[in-house]
């Protein structure tokens, strides 16, 4: 253990500034906990002259993050710039090659290049840690990699994008349509510059792919994540789901099945009374299921200066204490290539449709479902003033392929007005 650990921090946005603040304000506490002085040698960001609310004058400045990453007076390179490629990746690679440990909050970079970077870190005898990349302040990487390492993990699932959860719960609580709440979130600055990263599920999908790798000992495989965003979720579905005892969440689910690794990031129904169902606003939640531990639920802020900086510091302080861990929980060379499951495991489904109000309409729909081997668990037809009858169905467990087949047959009956909405119900 060195008695001084010197950091180079690249990226001085919210998270970078928050990290600098913790190091400046809590020097004695951090030293007491690690036996090591945590110092900042140099920083780097796109613009130098900007008031960030924190005094940076005692740190060297580098315009080029690669130059920062390879400085002699830097032991740990802290990458908080973001972006899957470009300067973040170049600087991370340069740091590892120069024998620096790396701490990053960059989910996109790791989701796309995690395997290569983990191999590079190990080839150079360095660690590459990324607690802040998943679920903000929640110590989920640590819990999964270390605390629960005695478990065969059976499933990891959760709400990993606070913005989507904000939009969905706000729609429900205020009774507003998606477009209006999306605009509101945009005004509030909750959305990424490319909003599809949030509402398209990409950001959350990146996170899920990282958790999958640790949980199942597989190489990160973001392309294997089945992605579906929240843009198609209507206020009608939110209300109808609530009426059946569910809430709609953008839910990430990873589980190893006999058919391969299943990774899904899509809107799902979860029981309203479950911890996931009760999650409001921008909060994140990750549920880890293991053969010994049964089920652990972790809940906390998924973003923001303090929480994300807290996660960055967790990794930095591990290094200060001499903890040396493989990036994905085991040596990169031992991670097996991911074999993606070709179809999702069976689940109950929610189907909402509008039927013509005439004799035999419902029977035709039930027959179409039955012909695809799908049986009905619960069904509700609502009172209505005109000739269009709103109908909700919750099926017993079935496969998506069977459901798609049934939907074609349902259309062919000619009693359905418009297209039905179908959403997976995740049992939790």
């Amino acid at each position: 253990m060195t008695t001084v650990l010197r950091l180079g921090i690249a990226g001085l946005g919210t998270v970078g500034t928050g990290t600098v603040k913790i190091i400046r304000q809590k020097a004695a506490l951090l030293e007491a906990r690690t036996g090591c002085k945590i110092e900042i040698s140099a920083v780097s960001a796109r613009t130098r002259d900007k008031d960030r609310g924190v005094n940076l004058s005692s740190y060297a400045w580098e315009d080029d993050p690669v130059a920062l990453a390879t400085r002699d007076d830097v032991d740990v390179f802290v990458e908080l710039m973001g972006g899957s490629d470009g300067p973040a990746k170049a600087a991370t690679e340069a740091a590892l090659k120069a024998g620096k440990d790396v701490v990053t909050a960059n989910k996109a970079m790791l989701a796309l290049h995690g395997q290569a970077l983990a191999e590079l870190a190990e080839a150079n005898g360095r660690v590459l840690r990324f607690e802040a990349a998943v679920a903000g302040g929640i110590p989920v990487i640590k819990s999964l990699t270390e605390g629960l390492a005695g478990n065969e993990i059976t499933r990891v699932l959760g709400v990993m994008n606070g913005t989507c959860n904000y939009i969905l719960t706000r729609m429900e609580n205020a009774g507003l349509p998606y477009e209006e709440v999306f605009e509101e979130a945009n005004q509030l600055g909750y959305l990424e510059a490319d909003p599809n990263l949030d509402v398209g599920g990409i950001d959350a999908g990146h996170k899920l792919s990282l958790l999958s790798s640790i949980a199942f000992g597989t190489q990160v495989h973001f392309d294997g994540v089945e992605l579906e965003g929240i843009g198609q979720i209507s206020i009608e579905d939110i209300h109808a789901a609530a009426d059946m005892g569910y809430r709609i969440k953008l839910l990430g689910v990873a589980q190893m099945t006999g058919r391969g690794l299943e990774q899904r990031m899509s809107p799902c129904l979860v029981p309203a009374a479950s911890p996931l169902g009760q999650l409001e606003g921008g909060t994140n939640m990750v549920v880890i299921e293991g053969d010994a531990v049964e089920q652990i639920v972790l809940r906390g802020p998924g973003a923001g200066e303090g929480p994300t900086a807290s996660a960055v510091m967790g990794d930095v302080l591990d290094i200060a204490r001499g903890t040396r861990l493989s990036t994905f929980g085991q040596p990169a060379a031992t991670l097996v290539e991911t074999k993606p499951a070709q179809s999702a495991a069976p689940a109950p489904y929610y189907i909402r449709m509008t039927l013509e109000d005439k004799p035999g309409a419902l029977a035709k729909i039930a027959t179409a479902l039955g012909a695809s081997g799908i049986s009905i668990d619960r069904m509700r037809q609502y009172g209505h003033a005109d000739t269009a009858a709103p109908v909700l169905i919750v099926t017993h467990k079935t496969r998506r392929t069977a459901l798609n087949e049934a939907v074609i047959a349902m259309r062919e009956t000619g009693v359905m007005l418009g297209d039905p909405v179908s959403l997976r119900i995740e049992e939790v």
Copy 2:
């Protein structure tokens, strides 16, 4: 890092057996994750001839746990016997002196002797870890010690005794009195041999004192925990609390105040809609609040073979990976002596009483509260058939001392039938 880590396991009850099973059934997985073969050299328990559902024939047997702890072929002594003193403490001390690392699930031993044992471990250059001692399978020690080490912790609170939470939620859901549910829990084997360890809050108090030490850098001080059990909680209070939007939990709270360290383990009201309020049955929950991370909630099984063994293995695998941490998150010599707060921080209180139904009765009570500087936030008087009126009051924030003073004055009004019940409302 050694390539083989050899364990000596003392205590083959539920947790010991569960630990042996994980090691036997998951050898390849554990080696992949740690780069180290995890082996058992020897075991020890009170009775040798007993079918524990696991094959122990390949391990040496020791009748004496001290002999086990000091064997040459043991690298890590795993203490799962329990008991604050006696063989558990003797063997732990012997192991540390003999240069073995120690993993234990023994909350009582650490609550009473944690400081001395941590000092002994450090004097011998060994680690003493205890994840399984607090909140079963939840990696709460790891989260607090490592993941959240960049935070100044402001409060730790939670439900840490599953049996008490089972009793309280079962009373509510089945509408049964305490005595009946207590008997039921006893029949189901949920209670300790000395039930007061559970329902008196002692077991949970032990756990709280360990969390306090890590959170605030103080020496473990179990005697500083203000203890109150659940034996006085009536079904009437559970229903009345629910009616005001609360649930009653045996809640542990530790917080550092200007007046010293406050540690309380007592029945409190929490908002029914909060994660703590929603906790059912034997599940545990720990809420950690820090200046950077805001609030993290950890939920999981608080006991049982698999979950507790999972926690034991988390510590064992840390050691296998070469992670070396101080027992309470910083060197034992730097932990400061605890200065207990003499009185709890102000809080709102719930008061339930029965008043004589005559003019001016309520006014007299309100006057008595006002004279002690206590103002009323909400009040409900219920309809009643006889001359005894049930009344509920939720106060604004006040101190327990002021409340006790007010209760004396309320009694002196002569309008109160019997004694009032007052419970703290913990804001969360």
